[in-house]
Symmetry: C2
Subunit: 188 residues, 2 copies
Amino acid sequence: MHTLPSLVNLSLPDWVEREVDATRIYADDESRVALAIQLAQRNVELATGGPFGAAVFTAEGKLVSVGVNRVVPQSCSVAHAEMMAYMLAQTKLQRFRLNDPDGEFVLATSAQPCCQCYGATVWAGIDELLIGARAEDVEELTEFDEGPLPADWVGDLERRGVRVKQDILRTQAREVFVRYRQLGGANY
Amino acid sequence: MHTLPSLVNLSLPDWVEREVDATRIYADDESRVALAIQLAQRNVELATGGPFGAAVFTAEGKLVSVGVNRVVPQSCSVAHAEMMAYMLAQTKLQRFRLNDPDGEFVLATSAQPCCQCYGATVWAGIDELLIGARAEDVEELTEFDEGPLPADWVGDLERRGVRVKQDILRTQAREVFVRYRQLGGANY
C-alpha cells in the first residue's frame, strides 16, 4: 500500500485499427451509428470488453477517434466506450474541449450513455449526440444498469449546445446485446 | 485525420509522490479531506492543473491513490481529480470495482463532484464519499460549472450503497478557490 500509483494507461484492442476504415467519410447519422454498433459487436465477439462502441466524427463525417468498452480487460470503471472515444479524440487534437475554439463534433454511440458518460458528454466539447439502443434496451437485455440521470437529461444537454438524436438503427443496436447474452455475457 | 489514436496516457505531477505521505493512517474524515484540499492547493500553486484534489482510502485510513485535476496540462476533459483517483486506485488493486469482492473504500474530494465525477462515483466501487466545498462554493468563486445532476443526487448514491458526507473542512476547501483566483485562474 505504500507506493502511490501515478500513471493511467488505457488502450483499444489491436483489431480496431485493422477493422475500421479511418479514411472514409461517414456522411449521415446512420453510417455513424452503424460504426459504433459494429465496434460493439466485434468487441463482444472478440471478447475484448463489454457490448458498447462509440466514435467521434467531425460535422463533415471524418472519423476522429473510436472507442469500445474496456472495463474488465483494463480493470477500469472509467473505460466505457464513450469515455475512450472522448479521451482519444482529445489526445489526437490536443484540446480538452473538442469544439473550442472551433469546429463541430459528433459522438455516435451504440447505446444511450450511462450516468458517467452522460456527465463526460457535458464537458467533452461535442455538438451532437447520436444514440442507437435505448437505456431500456440495455436494461432489458443485459445486466447493466444505466445509473441515475437528471430527469430532463436530453433538455439539459440541448441547453448546453448538444443536440440529441435517439433510436438510430435501434434494432441493430439491440442485436448486440442479444449476441452478448448468447456468448454468456462474461465481459462487461 | 487518417490514423486512429489508440492509447490514453494520463499521469499525476511529479511533486505528488514527494509531498504525500503514503505510509500514514488517515484515521478520520477531516484528515482525509485535508489531504484532498492540500493536493488541490498545491496543484494551483505549482500550476499543474485545476483547483481540485481527491484521494481514495481504505475504511481503516490507508491511502490507496490520490488524484489532482489534469484537464489542461493533459488535454483531457476526463482528467478530473476524482476520475484520476479512481482510475489509479483500480489500476493498483487490479479491480474495476474497488469493493468487489471485498473491502470498504472511501473517496475524499476537495469539492462536490461534477456531473461526470458523480456518474463515475456510481461505478467505482466506493462505500463513502467525503466532500469539502459545496457546488455553490465552486460556482461562486470560480468559472467552473458543476453540470446537471439528478435532483436527489445524494439519495441516488445512498440507495446504491455510497454514504455521502458534506461540508467537511468547507472553509479551508473554499480557500483553494480564493487562491486560484488570486493566481489568475489560468489552469483548470
